[in-house]
């Protein structure tokens, strides 16, 4: 009954002031992504559920908004952007030379099964580097992530890096069931050796595997993983994964960003397609991650045509904004002067507005024909800086009302433009 006045649960409106803040973040990110050679792609908001659910894991599939098309096919709102990008690359960019660098700034939608109210629409900005599996590619992604966060004005950012397959292979080696693997993952994330040892004792993990878990869980920096001694053949491809992490570390050293990067052996992402390094970015003033990502080498081939390794990240715009606000960052406001033009002679007003706009000054034209007093009241309330009353022709000086100082003066349009030009 009242739905015409509301928006659905978990969605909201964004008013001009807030949009400006989001725009600041999105424009900064877009700018830096482009500087690093990434090109923007856009995908449809609704897609076939099959395309969107490929390889992302059951949790995210459960959280998709699904509905039926007129021909009976099941559609969904995209819950993340990597699957759409993978589909685009597979179907539309197959002949592009690799590596392919793309970025997106999009809204994504997630439906929470929980009765606890959470947001359902989020804006994400992310990049994907597709077609190579080198440590340089992983290093580029981490470096771009850190550079992006710093560019936004965030301080004390950090990125915690883990390795999806390293954890997976070692978990497999335990032979534990799904539930116990979950417990093990929690204990690793608590970094509590006593509880970890007790758990591994109770579950009769072989001593070499126990030692491997303990050693990895003690590492806090990427270079420390080199000291973990393990036999390559024993637990999956552990040695390869460690080599990969150390390769990434070397690249980070060249970028001189090692100090921002930490190792977290327990790190797991909710999305399933990751095969290599995985990571989360955070700032100390915000209790939730700013974003994250990782390497997904087997994902694109699930779309059936191209076998392309890839790596990338996504940032949550809202989280970045919250972290900036928590750090007391002043989002730079656009300082352009705003002018309201009016005249008894319509053509003169339109001509004046054109001159101002050509000069890059934000200009609105009076459309009400109100009297002077009402117009000035409106200007005050609407955040206008100057009211510009044009006489019958622009050759004559106009009367300018300065809203800030509540003072009027007569001035020609050229003179006036010079004075506001400094503000524009």
């Amino acid at each position: 009954m009242f739905t015409k006045l509301r928006t659905p649960k978990g969605t909201r409106d964004y008013l001009p002031e807030e949009v400006e803040r989001y725009r600041y973040i999105e424009d900064e990110l877009k700018g830096i992504f482009e500087l690093w050679g990434y090109q923007e792609v856009r995908s449809p908001t609704i897609e076939f559920v099959e395309a969107l659910s490929t390889g992302i894991g059951p949790e995210l599939v459960d959280n998709m908004f699904k509905f039926q098309d007129f021909d009976g096919k099941i559609l969904a709102l995209r819950p993340e952007m990597t699957a759409p990008v993978a589909r685009i690359v597979t179907t539309r960019m197959a002949t592009m030379p690799e590596p392919i660098r793309v970025f997106y700034v999009s809204n994504v939608f997630r439906y929470s099964q929980s009765y606890i109210e959470r947001g359902r629409e989020f804006r994400q900005a992310g990049v994907e580097l597709i077609g190579c599996n080198t440590s340089e590619a992983d290093g580029e992604i981490l470096s771009l992530l850190i550079s992006s966060l710093i560019k936004l004005g965030l301080k004390e950012v950090r990125v915690d890096v883990g390795h999806a397959s390293l954890l997976k292979d070692l978990f497999e080696a335990t032979g534990l069931g799904q539930e116990k693997k979950g417990v093990l993952q929690s204990l690793l994330s608590y970094r509590d050796e006593a509880r970890l040892e007790k758990f591994m004792d109770q579950n009769n993990l072989p001593s070499k595997l126990r030692e491997t878990f303990l050693q990895f869980s003690r590492c806090r920096r990427l270079d420390e993983v080199s000291s973990v001694s393990i036999g390559s053949s024993e637990f999956g491809k552990t040695d390869n994964h460690v080599r990969n992490l150390l390769g990434v570390k070397d690249v980070l050293a060249s970028y001189n960003i090692e100090k921002f990067v930490f190792f977290d052996f327990s790190l797991m992402r909710k999305i399933e397609y990751y095969t290599g390094m995985v990571f989360e970015a955070s700032a100390p003033n915000l209790g939730l991650p700013l974003g994250g990502g990782g390497r997904y080498d087997d994902f694109i081939e699930k779309f059936g045509q191209l076998k392309l390794p890839a790596t990338g990240f996504a940032l949550e715009i809202e989280k970045c904004l919250q972290a900036l606000i928590a750090q007391g960052f002043q989002i730079p406001e656009k300082t352009k002067a705003k002018i309201l033009v009016l005249s008894e002679t319509k053509s003169a007003a339109i001509e004046a507005a054109r001159i101002f706009r050509d000069a890059g000054v934000v200009t609105s034209l009076d459309v009400l024909g109100s009297d002077k007093k009402k117009t000035e009241e409106y200007a005050k309330l609407a955040g206008i800086d100057y009211v510009f009353y044009v006489a019958s022709s622009l050759d004559e000086p106009a009367m300018v009302y300065d809203v800030g100082s509540n003072f009027s003066r007569n001035v020609t349009i050229e003179k006036f433009l010079q004075s506001v030009g400094s503000r524009a």
């Binding site: 929980s114 009765y115 606890i116 950090r158 915690d160 929690s186 994330s189 608590y190 970094r191 509590d192 806090r220 930490f262 977290d264 955070s282 100390p284 003033n285 915000l286 209790g287 939730l288 991650p289």
Partner: protein, 212 residues
Amino acid sequence: MKRKIRIAIPSKGRLKQRPIQVLQRAGVDVLEEERAYVSETSNPKFEAVFARAFDIPVYVHYGAVDLGITGHDLILEREAEVHELLDLGFGRCELVVAVPEDSEICSIDDVPAVARVVTEYPNISRKYFEGLGKQVEILEVRGTSELAPKLGLAQIIVDVSSTGETLRKNHLKAIATILDSTCRLACNKIAYRTFESEISDFVAKLRQGDLD
């Protein structure tokens, strides 16, 4: 300079008394126990916040506080994704399904396929009964769900019980235990990264205090 680490302590209810003592033994004396929402402590690295035990999991999840002392049952009920760094041992209780003593329902299997349940724990209760394949209507109340059977609102309640005393006094019997709970030290996931050394020192001290 690093900011202070915030720890939330239940402001009232069954979980209030012990946390303050436990913190004291870990070298964090809460200096203003009464009234103040944010209280200084004897340890310059920590400040204490008093909050409803029920809300603490949410505060920790979002990082409004870095640490929180609250029940395991409440962490599950609020679906908070937090690190449970320490089982503090106290505040032991069970979340039980209870019915009037004279009810024909004697075990969880006797619960009819369609029933009404009154509880302070709608989320856990819904999942529990769904897991049993039973469709129940859940009525959420704050506190005293024991009243519901007396008033004929529902035969079945889901509530915490530590000694069984309250159930007996209200002529109720427990027919199933959904989970066992104790107080936990919950930690925000990002805060654990940011303040790892401080927080693990604190956890070590808490653990030592426990043994003394």
